[in-house]
Symmetry: C2
Subunit: 217 residues, 2 copies
DNA sequence: CGTATCTTTGAGTCATGTCAAAAACGGTGG
DNA sequence: CCACCGTTTTTGACATGACTCAAAGATACG
């Protein structure tokens, strides 16, 4: 999907890249910041999020090794519409926008891959939009957990291989902290998931999938 | 934004285009259909929407003269994740996907424009996502009305220049029909908008903008 | 140990969706 | 011009999911 940067892209930009170490909790940029460039994630996990007022946020997606952050800078606006913050210590590679842009003009297949990536992200985004509008919290949590499993995989113990706080999980499902909490409990009671401290395991993926797919039940 | 198809694109595809007349209410395609190609809208209005269960839908965006529909077919999935339906009689130009794809490979600047378009749409989508998660219905309605104004403009009488049903307006807002209805009434009482039959005029754009931007009040 | 942060629980409130029915509207055909 | 029917609008009453607030346990941490 976006791992292309590793094979395709990085060799060409060797001369122009700047590697940055990012601490957990540190921001790459915030919504409203001027667009300076685009980021490739070498290691760690970055959350891409958007705030509402002072206290609320929605996590739009996560970027991990091989993913891109800041691609929205490609739009017409010279300002990031979203924020990017590390939730695990990360190393990212920064490419100034002007260089990135000029490369797009000569590398057709790379541009084409970006296009596919954006189309995929738009699909995902619109799906989640529909879910936020119509799906109850329980289904959204199920969906969120499955997404995390798909993106990060599971440990040998069967737990989601991400170190994500409940706060962030709530922000990712688009629900209040306490709501998420109660739903997690229900899911545990129904044996769809298991918890060990802050870690979550998927016990019954089929049932979760069903929850995340269909109706109001 | 997307009017580029008129200047940029249409000459080149003259040989491969197929014009289709679409009646009001008729679908271009439905979610789940195999991706066959991409559509350019010559005239009329197409709603791009996504269903939830049997009865509910969310309208993702509208496409009018010069806009593209079906660009999500560029993603990895060979199946449309969304539906496209005319809400006003329309004429669209159909381009088979294989031809479209092959053209992308030789026309860099066009691909680049598509990229920008998708980035813009992703921004918009993520903004709406955030709003669905955190903004109350009233603010979302305000936002929806402003969007319609931006996209379709207003008549000399000051009314939104789209012929959109309340049903669709509700689906665009992501709210129940009756909820939309009550909010519209409030907005009329507060003199932010006016209504004449099914048509809506913007009376106080500043106040609407304020509503659509900020907090829970 | 004392302070801070995060988790857990309970209770209350409110916005929004649901359901049902009346009213208004718009056409159609006699 | 009017009676009829289907659709859309309008209203009211109601149910409830989800958010908020607040406080009590836990857990971490210096």
């Amino acid at each position: 999907m976006c791992r292309f940067c590793l094979n395709h892209w990085l060799p060409a930009i060797a001369a122009n890249r700047k590697n940055l170490a990012v601490k957990k909790g540190q921001a790459l940029f915030n919504e409203g910041d001027e667009v300076k460039g685009i980021y490739f994630v070498y290691s760690g996990v970055i959350k891409v999020h958007k705030r509402w007022g002072r206290e609320k946020e929605l996590i739009l997606r996560f970027a991990r090794t091989g993913d891109v952050v800041g691609q929205l800078g490609l739009g017409d606006d010279a300002v990031y519409p979203i924020s990017a913050t590390a939730i695990e210590a990360a190393v990212v590679c920064f490419i100034p926008m002007d260089f990135f842009e000029s490369t797009l003009n000569v590398n057709v297949s790379f541009t084409r891959q970006l296009l596919t990536m954006l189309a995929n992200q738009l699909q995902e985004s619109e799906k989640r939009m529909r879910n936020l509008a119509h799906m109850p919290v329980k289904g959204r949590v199920a969906q969120a957990l499955l997404n995390l499993k798909n993106q990060f995989g599971i440990t040998t113990g069967g737990y989601l291989a991400v170190d994500i706080s409940r706060q962030d999980l709530a922000a990712f499902t688009g629900a209040a902290y306490e709501s998420l909490f109660r739903v997690i409990n229900e899911l545990v009671e129904d044996k769809l998931i298991g918890i060990l401290g802050k870690y979550i395991s998927i016990q019954n993926e089929d049932a979760l999938t069903k929850l995340s797919e269909q109706a109001d039940g």
